[in-house]
């Protein structure tokens, strides 16, 4: 079996349409309003939003394809590296356990999408998640996938769990809560292995954390996730703490996300000024 599979070769049937971050950045339109009135500026996915059901369906589909790519990423880490010399057996065992969780999450997300009235492939699949899992250093993968990607999953699941809770959708609330518990474990695995493997290699640790920062910035693109109500997805501080992030790390992600939101708003204002 081939090692180090490029993102272009991921197996998908004709229902899926994959897009890259470049495709997304090429879209000059924006859902972010530059109106400063609180009622207009809130984009958080909550039931009181007028388009709540459709926004939740879109996010649910994003979760579904994210779970597929997380499964593929963890699976590749089990296979791409030589046991012992490149990756400890116990790390691979953790990745195998994660594959088991992600496969279950794919099924749960698929059923939740049915429940919410979405079809597989109704929305584009952004492949940025798997791209973060293509590094040739397992430590960078742990930083990019387990800490950045699964960290984002914690934020997303918390937002969806709260949506289900407020809307009275018990299926959504409970399913998201169970998946959230798994994600906290996955992030913890990444944090623990990152510290353990780079214990005596500060340069490698710095490189991994720098890579995580790059991935976090990608996932914050356009201000999709931040502590501001203007972002559709919130930053789940408490669950990130449980997953092994310290306060300083969470503050850095919060600042990064807010900066991405402000950057996007400035770009929107500029584009609107150019139009007028």
């Amino acid at each position: 079996m081939r090692k180090f599979l490029p993102v272009e070769d991921l197996a998908r049937d004709e229902r899926f349409n994959q897009i890259t971050m470049n495709d997304r950045m090429a879209d000059q339109r924006t859902a972010i309003t530059t109106d400063s009135r609180p009622s207009r500026a809130a984009n958080r996915i909550v039931p009181s939003r007028a388009d709540a059901s459709d926004a939740a369906r879109g996010l649910m589909h994003g979760i579904f394809v994210g779970e597929i790519q997380a499964l593929e990423g963890a699976g590749r880490t089990c296979w791409d590296f030589t046991t012992g010399s490149e990756a400890p057996f116990e790390l691979k065992l953790d990745m195998a356990r994660q594959c088991w969780d992600e496969a279950r999450h794919v099924e749960i997300s698929c059923k939740l999408s049915d429940w919410m009235g979405s079809e597989i492939g109704e929305y584009a699949e952004n492949t940025v998640l798997f791209q973060a899992a293509c590094s040739n250093d397992p430590v960078l993968r742990l930083a990019g996938v387990n800490r950045a990607l699964e960290g984002l999953a914690i934020d997303v699941f918390t937002t969806m769990k709260e949506f289900g809770e407020v809307a009275g959708d018990q299926y959504l609330e409970f399913a998201e809560d169970w998946m959230l518990a798994d994600e906290v474990t996955h992030v913890k695995m990444g944090s623990d292995w990152l510290r353990k493997i780079t214990e005596n290699d500060p340069e490698r640790r710095k490189k991994a954390l720098d890579f995580q920062s790059v991935v976090d910035k990608l996932f914050s693109y356009g201000g999709t996730r931040s502590e501001s109500q203007e972002s559709p997805i919130g930053l789940a501080r408490r669950f990130r703490e449980l997953a092994g992030f310290d306060d300083q790390e969470i503050d850095v992600i919060a600042d990064l996300s807010l900066a991405a939101l402000e950057e996007r708003k400035a770009a929107v204002l500029e584009a609107q000024a150019a139009l007028n």
Partner: protein, 182 residues
């Protein structure tokens, strides 16, 4: 009477105004709105999908580009989405012009629950005009506004399967569902 689509050419999205016009003309014929002057203004600067009507001569329908978009191929137009969105808004126009909906609140005064019952009434009728509709999507939307319970589902069924309701009847079905769930 005239039907017009603006803009004629698009910058941010790959939409076809002539195609939108053809779909609109077909739906206007189905819903008996041929005696109205209608202009469809598309806001292509946002991916959101809100729609709003201004009654006058012409009747102006404001639509954000997300309402016509193929979400699996961003910025590309979707024929089903265009048909469904135009169908929903044109049925609302038709309702608003009828005396049976004289008591309906203005759009800006509609509660989220009232929006949900009216949307359900529109898409239920659309589904009987050979237009493909994902029923589960609208059931989920209805449940989000009326609760996840049997009374809510019964109300949805009733509205979905109806063709000749007044605003007061719609409101009554909604009120009954809410009362039964409490």
């Amino acid at each position: 009477m005239t039907v017009e689509v603006t803009p004629q050419t698009f910058t941010f999205v790959s939409f076809d105004s002539a195609y939108i016009l053809r779909i609109a003309q077909r739906l206007i014929g189905i819903f008996g709105l041929e005696d109205q002057n209608i202009r469809i203004d598309i806001n292509e600067t946002t991916p959101l999908g809100k729609m709003h009507v201004e009654f006058g001569d012409p009747i102006v329908i404001n639509i954000q580009s997300g309402a016509f978009e193929d979400f699996s191929r961003p910025r590309q137009q979707s024929e089903p989405a265009t048909t469904q969105s135009l169908g929903r808004i044109l049925l609302k126009v038709s309702d608003r012009l009828s005396p049976e909906f004289a008591d309906a609140p203005a759009d800006e005064d509609l509660t989220l629950m009232q929006v949900a019952i009216w949307e359900t009434y529109c898409v239920g009728r659309l589904s009987r005009h050979d237009i493909e509709i994902n029923r589960q999507r609208w059931l989920y939307n209805f449940r989000n506004r009326h609760g996840f319970n049997d009374a809510s589902d019964r109300a949805f069924e009733k509205i979905w399967n109806s063709d000749k309701l007044t605003w007061d009847q719609l409101q009554s079905i909604s009120d009954t569902a809410v009362a039964l769930a409490q």
